[in-house]
């Protein structure tokens, strides 16, 4: 209490006399925060210098200070060039996604997006100067969806986009024979891919083909020869490498930051009926529509053995060997493409696969647990694939080098290896901590980030969903189609061209045959055939 009295006394004195000394004291008191601010400034400078020097030393040591990132011209060009008329062969779920990426959407989906407030981001997608002028699907419902989608003018490009008539073709041959079609997008079940693509190349149509490229060696060889000897532009549907993250990872591999890579582990895990290709029931558990009055079953079967009509086969074709190669064709193809785009490993010397149907015992042929080992003795590395459809534990995709490992997903995370020769000194001195990422790459900022805060490190490990170009989130499938269309107009090579497709096709056929035939498959490099 005595404190209070003296204080009060002092302030009373202050108030009574307005002399200069008092004014000075008031000013001094008013400035009480300045020393605190000064201290803050000193601390801030200190922290900033520390962060910068740490970041710079690691980035310099790794040679990343001169890293050049490819600049994208995305969204900068007003017009792409001449209009390309595209025909869709197959308009199921994937066909719908591809049409969205191309800049077309079904009126119902436009409404849904409007309600969800996500329509504008799609409308901001670059207009690709294309028109969907043909739809071919053996199922009437799908074909009608396709026609409604192609004829909807709510789309990037808007009213300025040309309004061309859309035609339905009963067979893909009819579409290929039509001069009004410049290019085709093949999104049928896998057993049709190679045959349709080969015929399309013969008809001089440019091809965007979904994976897998082929189920049999003979049809793959024919497709390869046909495309190689024709002027058409071929693109296989692997959109993942369109992500800027991939270009970044490529630079990192080029700079040899990982050291010698001897093992690459790729995985896929899913744990749902839909993920296990049980897709013939709707959300309420009712059978999805479709019978022989609206589905041309004979055409759907194509060259596959004749079986009676089955809604289950129609929707869940991935479960049977006649139409697909399961996890290899649907999931590993993406993994292989990722690895091949980065390291150009090519066709392996040998493949061993093993697995079984352990969970989804619904009469399927396709294994739900599958593991393949691909050997590359000349490149001195092993590629592994492990897939499971009854556990969704995420295992990622990891490139293991002597000096560091790289986890590559929607972003890049690099950990130095505790046994590394190259980083021994920095690890010893504490400049590099092997427990936290040495480098992360944030696609949003297009910047290498060597030292980041705990929460940033955490987000890096979770990954982002779309890639970012010039500050905009962009669908990678859209970019993949855009690349294909650019090559049609201006020449150049697509990233998933026929050579890449051939290497991938052979590798997948080897893996699938190894599982089916229960033996090790080898690639005869001289005669270019599987033995």
């Amino acid at each position: 209490m005595s404190d209070k009295k003296t204080d009060q006394g002092a302030s009373q004195q202050e108030n009574t006399g307005l002399n200069r000394d008092m004014k000075r004291r008031t000013v001094l008191k008013a400035m009480a925060g300045l020393p605190v601010l000064g201290l803050f400034g000193v601390g801030l400078l200190d922290k900033r210098n520390y962060d910068l020097s740490k970041k710079n030393s690691i980035i310099k040591d790794l040679g990343l200070d001169s890293l050049e990132l490819p600049k994208s011209d995305y969204g900068q060009k007003k017009s792409q060039g001449e209009l390309i008329r595209v025909g869709f062969i197959g308009f199921g779920t994937r066909g719908k996604q591809l049409s969205n990426a191309l800049g077309f959407m079904h009126p119902d989906d436009v409404k849904t997006r409007q309600q969800k407030n996500t329509l504008n981001s799609w409308l901001e997608q670059e207009y690709l100067d294309v028109a969907i002028t043909g739809i071919c699907d053996v199922f009437d419902n799908h074909a009608e969806n396709g026609l409604a989608t192609a004829g909807n003018y709510t789309r990037p490009g808007g009213e300025a986009a040309p309004k061309l008539p859309v035609k339905r073709y009963r067979t893909y041959q009819e579409m290929l024979a039509d001069k009004e079609i410049d290019a085709v997008i093949i999104a049928t079940p896998d057993h049709h891919h190679a045959r349709i693509a080969t015929d399309a190349a013969k008809a001089g149509k440019h091809i965007y083909c979904e994976k897998s490229v082929a189920l049999h060696e003979a049809e793959l060889n024919e497709l390869y020869e046909t495309v190689k000897n024709s002027p058409v532009v071929f693109q296989l549907g692997h959109q993942i490498p369109q992500s800027v993250v991939f270009q970044q990872a490529k630079e990192i591999v080029k700079k040899n930051i990982l050291g010698k890579i001897t093992l690459i582990e790729t995985t896929s895990n899913r744990n749902s009926a839909n993920g296990a290709w049980v897709r013939h029931l709707d959300a309420k558990g009712n059978l999805k529509p479709g019978d022989e009055t609206v589905i041309d079953w004979k055409q759907w079967l194509g060259a596959a053995p004749e079986v009676p009509f089955s809604v289950e086969r129609f929707y869940n074709w991935t479960k049977w060997f006649d139409y697909d190669s399961g996890m290899i064709g649907q999931l590993f193809t993406h993994e292989f493409d990722a690895v091949n785009q980065l390291l150009r490993v090519g066709i392996p010397k040998s493949v061993v696969s093993s697995g079984g149907v352990y969970y989804w015992k619904d009469g399927r042929e396709m294994p739900d647990s599958l593991h393949c080992v691909f050997e590359y003795p000349e490149k001195e590395l092993t590629l592994m694939y492990s897939g499971n459809l009854a556990s969704s534990r995420s295992r990622g995709r990891v490139f293991m080098g002597h000096d560091a490992s790289m986890e590559l997903g929607n972003n890049v995370i690099i950990h130095a290896d505790s046994g590394s020769t190259r980083y021994r000194e920095q690890i010893k001195s504490g400049a590099i901590d092997t427990r936290s990422p040495l480098l992360t790459y944030n696609p949003a900022s297009q910047q290498i980030d060597a030292v980041s805060s705990a929460s940033e490190k955490y987000y890096a490990s979770r990954g982002l969903t779309t890639t970012t170009l010039n500050g905009r989130a962009v669908d990678v499938t859209h970019l993949h189609l855009r690349e294909w269309l650019n090559c049609i107009r201006n020449g150049g090579t697509t990233s998933a061209n026929i050579d890449m497709a051939f290497e991938e096709g052979i590798t997948c056929i080897m893996a699938h045959r190894s599982y089916v035939e229960k033996r090790r498959m080898e690639w005869d490099e001289v005669n270019r055939r599987i033995v």
């Binding site: 209490m1 404190d3 209070k4 003296t6 204080d7 009060q8 002092a10 302030s11 108030n15 004014k23 008031t26 000013v27 008191k29 008013a30 400035m31 009480a32 925060g33 300045l34 605190v36 601010l37 803050f40 801030l44 900033r48 407030n117 996500t118 981001s121 944030n442 949003a444 900022s445 910047q447 980030d449 980041s452 705990a454 929460s455 940033e456 955490y458 987000y459 979770r462």
Partner: protein, 163 residues
Amino acid sequence: MKNNYTRWQLTFLVALRFLIGWHLLYEGVAKLLNPQWSSVGFLKESQWILAGFADWVVTNPNILNTVDFLNTWGLIAIGLGLILGMCFRVAALSGFVLLVVYYLNCPPLVGIEYALPADGNNLIVNKTLIEAFALAVLALFPTSKILGMDALVDRFKIKKEEK
């Protein structure tokens, strides 16, 4: 302003003002200096009554940019206001509101789990909420007219009235 505080009361009130000011100022400056920073990560975690608002911000790039800008400069302004004792009451109350908004986006309630690791162990109450209430207390026990720029403003007003 008349100083009715004891020396110890004044010392700790001003110290608390400096500490919170320092913290908020650095939160703002750190965001300003980090070109990669965005409130997306935080807002994506939002799960309680403000989840809808957070979702709206995240899905609208322009609004997100505005929120990021206001957040960064708001923190800096509040931090400076607290340390310098300038427009103190406005600073303290804005700080209170801002921190309560942070809290309401990610309150540590039973049954809500966050992907981002929390700072310490929290049950309903966390440090953000405590800091918010500390600011409210500071606003009710102002010190800026005794030790702070607001004293000058006060003095200026008195002089004007005398004239």
